[in-house]
Symmetry: C2
């Protein structure tokens, strides 16, 4: 066992090639074992083992600085930089985040979990080093899938301008999370086929020096290549070809499914906790895919766009095949996705862009300029939003879509509260031709009213009064409508009084007529939303009542970057529990 003796990078340097090869095996086993027990990014970490050992063997971190794009391939690096216990000892699995993190180790320089940022961030390290007259190499590791993102291409274009040392390792395992999309992948293929010799070379066309390594899983080849580029005085791309999932057959064969994994049974490969006798639980992702597939079949003008995360929006290989050319994956290029949706919608196509809350923020300007100024009737489905639906890593929070989207003019942002409302809003949005519409997919367990939902959505900002009471009105937005029901119920239990319950549905505007009505026989309004309070829905309501005697309490999330939070703790901390809210109400 060599890994247990690696406490810092310099311990790697003590090993000879054969020992390092055993170390590689140990690292791989740790990735697999931890993946099975704990889940995490899987295929990319298996691919990068030898390259990472070579990096630490050839370079001297932290004097030499490594930046791992999107962090999907940083586990071996973490193991070699004092964090091995978090990968070898089950008790310590949760000691580290799944991402690069400078607060964990001096060998990390950024918290990063969004794709395509590494080269541009590294340009900052290069410039800082040079201005301060320091030494050391700046090394980026970026996967081929991340290359197509706008920020990555901007960064690669800019890197040569620094006229200084920067080593960009393009880790080419032939795919993104899913299949790669974009013309540049043809060039990578050409370069692989010609062993880097083709004259037409994307990187050279961006004024970068270029080196090719045929087998990035060949430790000696990697060491030699890195030794060659160490201390170069300009920007160089080292294009290495690695095998995604290497060392774990199922992951080698089905590279998309094994990009990331939840905990699984190492023998059956089935997800832990999975009981095949249990019927599969319905979930909103599958509901969406099923609805869209049916819709596409019935109408050739319905086109679905996605940006590099097809399975996450319910379009695995099977669904993609079924959708055929009506499903478009633009690769990790959210900006192009929105522009494409807008361009198609401008000419009568019913375009639907499915995107995860934390990633839709990668295209704010296109939402505003390409889509909303043009007022084209595209539909955006925002997946995994809020605290209930979003990721709980600091880089993947789904809390911010309300502030950054609902304040863009022309955009109608909807928050259905259950399955039937959700499907009805999708249907309306896809068929209407007046507005760009975004729909916040409900989070958590599927709630079904089992009744067909009828609403004239075209009456923009017309909220739904579910229960008419007096004195107290509760506005429960989207996934927090259920909390609203609980509040109203508990309030009745405690006071015997019937409160008003409202399903606002429209995140992006205020139902002024209904709010005016409330003034007559209500004195307190409560808003509930699963997002940060600042710039959110509740504040619009509060502003509306600013000049009245109505008291308004806004419930939602504090503006902060929380990391790996526990939902229950967050709910309590933000007083998002029926008993806490009723306690507040009774105090007033």
């Amino acid at each position: 066992m060599y890994l247990e003796h690696i406490n810092e990078p310099k311990d790697v340097k003590k090993l000879n090639i054969d020992e390092m090869k055993i170390l590689a095996k140990e690292i791989r086993e740790a990735v697999i074992t931890r993946g099975a027990k704990h889940g995490g990014h899987f295929g990319p970490n298996l691919a990068i083992v030898e390259a990472t050992i070579a990096l630490h063997y050839v370079f001297d971190s932290p004097k030499d600085k490594f930046v791992f794009d999107v962090s999907h391939q940083c586990y071996p690096h973490k193991m070699l930089t004092g964090r091995r216990l978090a990968f070898t000892d089950e008790k310590h699995y949760a000691d580290v985040t799944g991402y690069s993190n400078q607060h964990e180790s001096e060998h990390d320089h950024f918290i990063l979990g969004h794709t395509s940022t590494s080269v541009s961030l590294a340009c900052g390290l290069v410039k800082a080093r040079d201005v301060k007259g320091e030494e050391g190499n700046v090394v980026v590791v970026i996967g081929d899938g991340s290359l197509g993102g706008g920020e990555a291409l901007e960064g690669i274009n800019f890197a040569s301008e620094l006229r200084s040392n920067m080593i960009i390792i393009v880790n080419d395992n032939g795919m993104s999370i899913a299949k790669n999309h974009g013309g540049l992948y043809k060039n990578l293929q050409l370069l692989r086929e010609t062993e880097g010799k083709a004259e037409c070379n994307l990187f050279k066309a961006m004024d970068l020096d270029y080196v090719f390594v045929k087998d990035g899983n060949d430790l000696e080849a990697m060491i030699n290549a890195l030794k060659d580029v160490k201390d170069v005085n300009h920007a160089v791309v080292v294009h290495i070809v690695t095998q995604k999932g290497k060392g774990f057959k199922p992951a080698e064969l089905d590279r998309e499914s094994w990009h990331y994994t939840g905990a699984f049974d190492i023998n059956t490969l089935k997800p832990l906790g999975y009981d095949e006798n249990e019927p599969l639980k319905e979930n909103y992702t599958a509901i969406t895919a099923n609805y869209l597939l049916k819709k596409m079949k019935a109408d050739k003008k319905v086109l679905i766009i996605n940006s590099g995360t097809p399975a996450a929006i319910g379009f695995g290989a099977k669904q993609r095949k079924e959708a055929g050319t009506q499903f478009i994956d633009v690769g990790i290029a959210e900006e192009t996705a929105v522009a494409l949706a807008s361009g198609m919608a401008a000419k009568g196509i019913k375009s639907v862009y499915g995107v995860i809350s934390t990633f839709v923020q990668r295209t704010y300007d296109q939402l505003s300029q390409d889509l909303c100024i043009n007022n084209n009737p595209a539909t955006i489905i925002v997946y995994y939003s809020g605290m209930l639906g979003g990721g709980n890593d600091v880089t993947h929070l789904g809390w911010f879509d309300i502030p950054f989207m609902s304040n863009i003019p022309n955009l109608v942002y909807l928050a259905p509260t259950n399955k039937e409302e959700y499907l009805a809003s999708l249907e309306w949005s896809i068929e209407q031709t007046e507005h760009p519409v975004a729909i916040r997919m409900p989070a958590g367990e599927v709630i079904s009213s089992a009744e067909e939902y009828k609403k004239d959505f075209s009456k923009i900002n017309k909220y739904e009064l579910t229960q008419k009471g007096e004195a107290l009105a509760v506005l429960g937005l989207g996934s927090f409508y259920k909390l609203g029901e609980e509040v109203v119920e508990l309030y009745k239990e405690k006071t015997g009084k019937e409160a008003t319950l409202i399903n606002p549905f429209y995140i992006s505007g205020v139902d002024e007529e209904l709010m005016e009505e409330l003034k007559k026989d209500h004195s307190l309004v409560i808003t509930l939303e699963d997002g940060v309070l600042d710039g959110g829905f509740g504040e619009k309501i509060t502003r509306y009542f600013g000049n009245s005697d109505m008291k308004v309490l806004n419930y939602g999330l504090k503006k902060e970057f929380a990391d790996r939070y526990n939902i229950e703790d967050m709910l309590k901390k933000n007083r998002l529990k029926a008993e806490l809210i009723v306690e507040d109400i009774l105090k007033i």
Copy 2:
């Protein structure tokens, strides 16, 4: 005079080559004359005259669809598509916007004024055409300067995936608004030098077909090249070399200054209304540049970053020379600019990113992920914000920075109200090491207190109580502080009572202690901000008081996309006048 007979594109087709050459001359004269009298984009429109005539001669708009990137080169197109009067008749100059606009003409397909969006938008047109089984070419005209933006590179990478007709005219006049930055410009140069024959070709590396036209101002060459690519069944780049400012000597010689011009005297070239005996008025842009230049000289660790608009942030050729390598222009690549600023700040560099309000929204995700999650102490100066400072074209509004920036955790967003406050906040921000800080440059005429401003900015969210009164408190944010002063004064005049006046300074948070104080002897709070109300500063204040008896009125801008507005009208419409506000107050 041929131009006066061109009422639609098909009229162009009636002309022979010699007649079209005369038409080119007429169009050029119209651009120059209108530019002198009215101002507008200048150099790019002079460069594209022949290409545009060729486009309309060879293709059939609107069946064939043209998309002009950023619209900086759309005037000749407008002249040939029924809008010539707006260029030849002074009375009609204001009939058209300066940008592409589908509401003006069926020959335009999008409102667009932000760079690098054209290819991705055009992908939507291509797909819509194909799904509907329609005919026609989709043609993009994109300047070389726009190529470096993330969305453009994403789009160029994606275009070949459509496997369908798309013609991308890369209009290479050898510069962006200012000098081009990025490695790809080396490749354009190589292609120019080899007349398109170099094997290493950025566009081919993106799987695009490629054609080179040596002289894009040669009408016949352009016609021949376009005839050759018409109706191709795949995506092709037509790389044309044109001369920026062609036909107007000063613009040919100083291409940066003449990219855009205000109205000028055609003989002296001096700006209209300019009186050389009048001392130059101080403005915040020059104040900023002067301060930064001095700061850079004193401290080699101060670095200024800009993204393709150096002159607009006060760094013309002279200032850039003075700043030397401490001034970095990344080209039109806002995402890289923020990442670079963050990366440098992470390692102790005092990085300052100067950016225009309407463009900083092109990098929301990087503000959130690359900068604020990492909490690196970079400074962002937001130029030309608000209604008072921003552009008044719908694509260039400066009203949205407060909602999309101030609700990002960790970012401290400051709104100084005068010159001394501004300089003090810059100084603090650059020297502090705790927070990412954005500073909203004050808008409009420079206001000076003529006193050194001292404030402990590190007490985050500590507002400034300027005048203590009772009953009424006015919070005048940034450029609207002055309006706050007027309100308080007029209120006193009308009622004899002294109101409280507050300079909040911190856009991104609430001074809870001070607000708590107000509860004691105030019953009404007024907030004033130069930005949309939705998601803005005022709503945070209102939320704070939601559960109290305090009444709060928020003044700011209605959420809308206004186009070419008149400031005075907008102020009135939004009741942003002291007399209207006091009228409202007295009603309560």
